[in-house]
Symmetry: C2
């Protein structure tokens, strides 16, 4: 029997790499999709390509979407600084400036288009409501609303005869802690040394270390670095990240 | 009192020009958004710019989104022919090949991002469930689902204290016939000579006519031309379109 196709959003970060490994384990033929959206950490797209190759994605598309034209986020607007050294309590209070307006909605919409073209019913996304509780578009009720929309929006959804034929938004990490995600990925042999999380990459000093091939280092102080470091520590797994 | 901002999707076609005029009449400061998505009728973007200027849009952004990378539609895939000379009964049966996978979801997602950045609560879109009943993403239940999603997806939606603060998807044409749309636009002084509907533009023969400035002519036989011609005829309004 032919494997069922799935679309997997792969950012190059730790979460989506784990999701790709999970979709693989569940037997899907995975069509990966990444976005070049004017992010200051475009280095993550190199990481996405490495992750897709390492985990054997069936295809990998990088779609250009110009979110910089809109501004409004520290991730796409050079005039807004990335916060540094925040406590986890500070991270949990309100919507952070690294929130990109409607980003997940835009990304899921492209994933939905790809699902229609590839005949995929399953869209895997690595959103997580635990560590990113301040992002409105990482919550389970948001994902449920997108799934409802997806089935009203598409030929696949309209023509589905039963639940099995309908589109599913799969977010296997949504209620896991970062440490649990890392433990799960480690079990699935994800090479986290290929992944990139830092929002604010720093130039690396010349060095002979193998990881210096990226020519940048993780800042170690943005929210994403702090969550990542704590996650590896809590999971008791060695953190391969090249920090400054 | 400062005028409230709205985002208006302007394709360059007849419907969205009418919607822009309606949003204007309702007193909104209109931020128009158009998309260069690999459509074979990219001529509509010139029409969009002319419409925005003519109707006094406060701003007009053209966003590049590469839907050609996905294929699957006669509008973006040169290998799929645009149907010609279909009866209205044929147009109503099933989802046409000119349907672009998830297109309205992608367009509305970008409009949502722009709404967040501009602080707009109202997103106007010219979808119509009468003449385009075959498109899943032109139906009222689809629009309602997108509105639900929009308010779960965004800072504006999350932080709204009352209904007035929430995001509204406004589709004033959704239940109008093409003739009714043309009558309404004519009342609002829309210059339909600036708009473009044809899916399959044809090269124009050299001529001295003023409309030949576009250097193309409407094919007169695609679904969109047929619906447009019938609409002007039914409304008893002169059709300014340069057909072949």
């Amino acid at each position: 029997m032919e494997r069922r196709s799935a679309v997997v959003l792969v950012s190059g970060g730790l979460d989506s790499a784990t999701v790709l490994a999970i979709a693989n384990e569940r037997g899907f033929r995975c069509h990966a999709i990444s976005f070049r959206y004017g992010q200051r950490h475009a280095i993550e797209l190199q990481a996405a390509a490495a992750v897709c190759q390492s985990l054997g994605a069936h295809s990998h598309r990088v779609v250009d979407v110009d979110l910089r034209a809109f501004g409004g986020s520290a991730l796409t607007d050079d005039g807004i600084a990335v916060p540094q050294g925040r406590s986890s309590r500070e991270m949990q209070s309100g919507i952070p400036v690294t929130y990109v307006p409607a980003r997940n909605t835009i990304f899921l919409s492209f994933a939905l288009a790809l699902a229609e073209v590839e005949g995929a019913r399953d869209i895997f996304v690595g959103v997580n409501a635990v560590d990113y509780s301040g992002y409105p578009d990482c919550r389970p009720e948001y994902l449920a609303a997108f799934q409802t929309l997806a089935n009203l929006a598409t030929r696949i959804g309209i023509e589905a005869n039963d639940v099995d034929g309908r589109i599913r938004i799969q977010a296997p990490l949504v209620s896991l802690s970062k440490a649990q995600i890392i433990s799960e990925g480690t079990r699935l042999h994800v090479d986290y040394g290929l992944t990139w999380s830092c929002y604010d990459p720093q130039p690396a000093a010349p060095t002979l270390e193998p990881l210096a091939r990226l020519k940048v280092r993780a800042c170690a102080v943005c929210d994403s670095c702090l969550i990542r470091k704590q996650g590896f520590s809590d999971a008791g797994v060695n953190d391969p990240t090249p920090y400054v």
